[in-house]
Symmetry: C2
Subunit: 119 residues, 2 copies
DNA sequence: ATTATTGTATTATATCAATAATACAGTTTT
DNA sequence: AAAACTGTATTATTGATATAATACAATAAT
């Protein structure tokens, strides 16, 4: 699995975003156990402390729950995941449209550009 | 003019982005003189050194040219502005579509969401 | 029972970013 | 001529982030 960490923003923030994305899009299955902090850190080529910080953030959001000596587990709260996915999508659409609008590009042009994209 | 500086990313980067946006969308007119470093800093409620750093970045991109004792001037290179505007739009579309696709949202859904937006 | 693995906490160091407070030389402005 | 304003440079301090190197108690695995 690709961990594309750049150095333009705090690493732990990027880890939170990537982990959240994987939970919301189903890459990580609901209710299952996550790799250990150390293994995740190794996989992402990041310091364990930094990965730990990211996991703490995810626990605050309720997306994972940690059991001290067993591991971190993905939430099985289907509605939470669904809601957060919708919320994130809305946020991205809003942010994107705000920038595009500010650039003076019309809605029509925007949709044409998106139609050229591959997905 | 609104300067919405958050603390989630380096301030000088956000200043570069805002200034570039204003040049590309015509808020700042080609060939005209900018406010002084100190006045811009005051307007954005930012330290002059931070604003200066942002202006240096803009000069590297060729969007402004500084005349030592007179002030900073917006470029009058129409093609440069037009090209950078197109480039930025493409970048934003690509970034946005990448995230949306990764979230598992279809192109059709995406366009429906955009059509609900106001612009 | 012993060993390995778990999340978690602590301490230290290094770097980047932001701000503050000046300073200076060269125009403009008055 | 004097004063104000220009970009630019310097030095110092503070805070956030990243990494490193351990450590520990509790549990799981052997």
């Amino acid at each position: 699995m690709a961990w594309e960490i750049k150095n333009d923003r705090p690493v732990y923030i990027q880890l939170v975003e990537e982990l959240e994305m994987r939970i919301l899009n189903g890459t990580y299955t609901m209710g299952t156990k996550l790799l250990s902090v150390r293994d995740l850190a190794s996989e992402a080529q990041v310091n364990p402390n930094t990965m730990q910080k990211a996991l703490s953030e995810l626990e605050k959001k309720g997306l994972i729950s940690s059991r001290r000596t067993s591991g971190n587990y993905i939430t099985d709260d289907e509605k939470l995941i669904s809601d957060l996915r919708t919320e994130l999508a809305s946020f991205e659409v809003g942010t994107f449209c705000g920038k595009i609008k500010k650039l003076g590009i019309t809605k029509k042009e925007t949709i044409e550009l998106i139609n050229k994209e591959d997905f």
